[in-house]
């Protein structure tokens, strides 16, 4: 049987940039846009990367934290915060009893979570997740976010483990700040149907500020 290959929800908005596409985690995503040298510069100034291909698992309910703990994942104690639940896997606590688990480029915890059986798990309910997801990094990242988001996201205002659910470019989004290979970056998730819009907004301002699109390959080199 042939495995189904999905396409990133952002693909429509990336078409004009003619990226080199490749498959990661069963999804076709942009691996590179303008070549390694240019994208390295973009990363330093302001780089936007589509990471919608990262595997996700959503769960909510009063027993959701217990169930995740049984699967060997660490969960945040505080509401609206995140931890690295397993090597290479983020666990976000969205409010009181809802969690979003997302494997990063080398994480693989979500595969194990797909064994979730609703009939055998009282008090926990799987939440289908298909968010468009982005990484925003570079020296101008905060300037971009200050144009699109009313929240103060500077280091002094945003705790390193905080998850913020707010509006970015006028649409509901989830935000956090993390360190990626020593570089401070921002993660943004939004509803999948707004993926192309979000990409266009992020990229337009990134280009105004001297940055641009960064493919998956350059982002994790």
């Amino acid at each position: 049987m042939t495995a189904l290959i999905k396409t990133t929800p952002v693909a429509y908005a990336q078409h004009e940039q003619k990226p080199a596409m490749g498959v990661h985690n069963g999804m076709e995503v942009a691996l590179s846009f303008e070549g390694a040298a240019v994208e390295k510069t973009h990363k330093q100034v302001l780089g936007v990367t589509d990471v919608s291909c990262f595997a996700k698992f959503g769960i909510k309910g009063p027993k959701a934290a217990d169930w995740l703990a049984k699967q060997g994942l660490k969960t945040p104690d505080e509401i609206n915060s995140w931890v690295e639940g397993a090597p290479g896997t983020l666990v976000l606590r969205l409010g009181g009893s809802e969690f979003l688990v997302e494997d990063q480029i080398k994480g693989n915890a979500c595969n194990g979570l797909s064994t979730f059986n609703q009939d055998k798990t009282a008090g926990a309910y799987q939440v289908a997740r298909a968010d468009a997801a982005f990484i925003l990094g570079g020296s101008q990242a905060l300037n971009l976010l200050s144009e699109l988001c009313v929240m103060d996201l500077r280091d002094s205002a945003l705790a390193s483990n905080a998850v913020v659910m707010t509006q970015v470019a006028g649409i509901s989004a989830t935000l956090l700040r993390e360190s990626l290979a020593g570089e401070q970056v921002y993660r943004i998730w939004c509803d999948v149907s707004y993926g192309p819009y979000m990409w266009e907004m992020l990229l337009e301002i990134a280009q105004e500020l001297g940055g641009g699109a960064v493919g998956l390959t350059a982002r994790f080199q």
Binding site: N80, V150, T166, Q167
Partner: protein, 101 residues
């Protein structure tokens, strides 16, 4: 910019919220009279004063109660349904709305 305090997410601009109508206790539909039920469904007390209202923080999907003075537009307290407001927050405005320039 007008601000409102979400009990789960903190103070945010009013543009992140949706108004869900006045909060009123629903009479028991099995035992209430037609008059009581019709009053609950159709009638509203529009006199200005402190009202309990449903508000929704759309980025996080949080429904909560706000006690708002509809005359002065001052929010006295916000809290999750079923959780009593902090006494200090009912006497001191927690999220005073500010008029933009």
């Amino acid at each position: 910019m007008k601000l409102l305090n979400c009990p789960m997410n903190g103070t945010r601009p009013l543009s992140e919220f949706l108004f869900g109508g006045e909060f009123r206790e629903m009479p028991n539909p099995d035992t209430s009279s037609d008059l009581e039920w019709a009053s609950y469904v159709h009638y509203r007390d529009n006199a200005p004063g402190v009202k309990k209202e449903w508000w929704y923080h759309s980025p996080s999907g949080t429904w909560f109660i706000a006690e708002r003075n509809t005359l002065s537009d001052e929010v006295l307290a916000t809290y999750l349904y079923g959780k009593a407001p902090d006494a200090t927050k009912t006497t001191k405005p927690r999220a005073k709305k500010e008029q933009s320039e």
